[in-house]
């Protein structure tokens, strides 16, 4: 019975989210208008996309113990090729498939190199690789990527049901489908025998080696899967926002993913999703509010400035969270109502990391 409930309620959440576009419910302060309104749906779609991308990031980070500072690259590897190819006249599905292939290839090749290092070295190398992506994009080779300005998504291959304000609900459902897929992949993977191996790699590489498994191969597989999921997120993102800018390949972008995971609770069931939704919501809303505030006369300049750079507040809140809520939001809730933790709590995560580092010596 309990496990039935346990399984049923993610489905229930998804079902509620699925019918939101039909709902006329209006939550005054939180949203600008009723759920059915395009503006609100767009905001929710962004939250969902980031929830999926952050889930893909947590697959490496919280679940496998790999701290990449270059996850943005794989997101961009989904977003940019899709945009470029659609502009070149490709049908959307072909462009998306090509982008997914590009993301996979990039993740396999760069992961294979970066995994020669570990710990902080791995973080640094992945960061440098992502920088190569940013550089390539801003160099604007053959005018394809639009340089600093970025690209607007348009082309004959774009199906009508995915364009225009009236079709925001379709984009919202697409984002919902994406996040459900990403979360399902990670949850099912972690519940399978492979999940035990992944946890084993994170907690103690030596034990996995005893099982005759090469932890390098395990890590590379996780890195690749995670990259593919991020690329898929990039594709949905491009469709939702109708374009892409070099920011999505930047280190700052990866760092915000990291922040979202940590806010929620790395390696937990709901943490990454929760963290992403809360962060994305705040980020988008603060920016919107600042726009409204700065046009209204009599606002002190510092307040407008403060609101125009939500990262200042978010960064400070994040630092406070690291001190005072080390397990993230999901750790703030009593364990019981939170349900089963899939893995060792994040507190042990650091210990596991240090242990692995020691074994290497």
């Amino acid at each position: 019975m309990k496990s039935l409930l346990h399984r049923a309620w993610p489905v229930a959440v998804a079902a509620v989210l699925a019918i939101l576009p039909f709902s006329a419910v209006d939550i005054p302060v939180l949203f600008d208008g009723p759920f059915a309104q395009p503006g609100t749906l767009q905001l929710l779609a962004m939250c969902l996309i980031f929830a999926g991308v952050v889930q893909s990031y947590d697959l490496q980070f919280g679940r496998t113990g790999l701290m990449s500072f270059g996850h943005a690259l794989y997101f961009a590897a989904g977003a940019y090729p899709t945009c470029v190819l659609v502009r070149a006249g490709w049908p959307l599905w072909q462009a998306a498939a090509a982008a997914l292939c590009a993301g996979t290839l990039l993740a396999v090749v760069l992961g294979a190199i970066a995994l020669h290092t570990d710990g902080i070295g791995f973080a640094m190398v992945t960061l440098a690789f992502a920088q190569a992506g940013t550089l390539t994009i801003t160099l604007n080779p053959a005018g394809l990527t639009g340089g600093d300005e970025g690209l607007v998504l348009n082309g004959p291959g774009l199906p009508a049901w995915l364009t225009g304000v009236t079709n925001t609900a379709n984009l919202y459902w697409l984002a919902l489908a994406y996040v459900c897929a990403a979360v399902a992949v990670v949850w099912l993977l972690m519940a399978s025998p492979a999940g035990r191996i992944i946890t084993g790699v994170r907690d103690d590489t030596r034990r996995v080696s005893v099982l005759g498994l090469n932890s390098y191969v395990v890590k590379l597989s996780v890195f690749t899967l995670s990259g593919v999921l991020a690329a898929a997120g990039g594709i949905v993102y491009v469709l939702t926002t109708g374009g892409v800018s070099p920011h999505v390949a930047s280190t700052a972008f990866t760092l915000t993913l990291l922040v979202m995971v940590v806010i929620g609770g790395p390696g937990t069931r709901w943490g990454p999703v929760l963290g992403a939704v809360v962060y994305t919501y705040l980020d988008q809303r603060l920016t919107a509010v600042s726009g409204a505030v700065s046009v209204s006369p009599g606002t002190p300049g510092w307040l407008a400035g403060l609101l125009s750079q939500p990262l200042l507040l978010l960064g400070i809140v994040f630092i406070l969270l690291v001190y005072f809520a080390p397990g993230g939001l999901s750790a703030l809730r009593p364990r019981k109502s939170f349900g089963r933790t899939d893995t060792t709590p994040p507190g042990d995560f650091q210990k596991a990391r240090r242990r692995v580092a020691k074994l290497r010596r």
Binding site: D203, D204, T344, D348
Partner: protein, 234 residues
Amino acid sequence: MTGSLLQVRGLSVRAGSLQLLHGISFDVAGHGTTVILGRDGAGKTTTLRAILGQLRSSGSVCFAGQEVANMPTHALVRMGIGYVPEDRRVFPDLTVAENLRLAERDRPDYDRVYTLFPDLAQRGKQRAGTLSGGQQQMVSLARALLNDNRLLVIDEPTKGLSPAVVTTVTAALAAVARTVPVLLVEQNLQVVSELAHGAVVVNAGRLAWTGNTRALLHDAQLTRTLLGVAARRP
């Protein structure tokens, strides 16, 4: 003073989902050598590291009348502990002199060290990484003997050394143990029988036996069941 210097009670260590130590209790006498015995992977090193605060543990560790469990390692060491870790852990890119200089505390006694290991006096400028295994072990011991300690904690000092070097190291330890109590982990039963008074046997992270070393080594049956080896008759 004949009371015990170090009391370990219910020491447990976890690593993630693994329980490495399950509530180990024993005493280290205020004089002579107490040896921890056990098969490979029994948890001997883990016990020492937990006592020193290098691993988080639960349970109680009482040193010279003070509770020190989970105290920062450097502070505990400064209370008067010399530590010689498994596999020597010299700093390979520092010279011998620098390795020793790093270990200096209040009043380093270089004479004592150079009397025991005259070889080191000549090799001050040599990089420790280029020393032989035996010489590295002497550097590692010297780092612990440089200061006036109340306890020496020494982990497998003869591991991987040639018989001649084992003799040197054993002689040095015997000399040292006359003035400072030693907590020793050692697999070589010949060395153990020469040095140790008290014995603590751990097996699979649990305390298996405590008592007198001689009693243990004279009981072939006991030695075989506890350590999986036939005792050498001393």
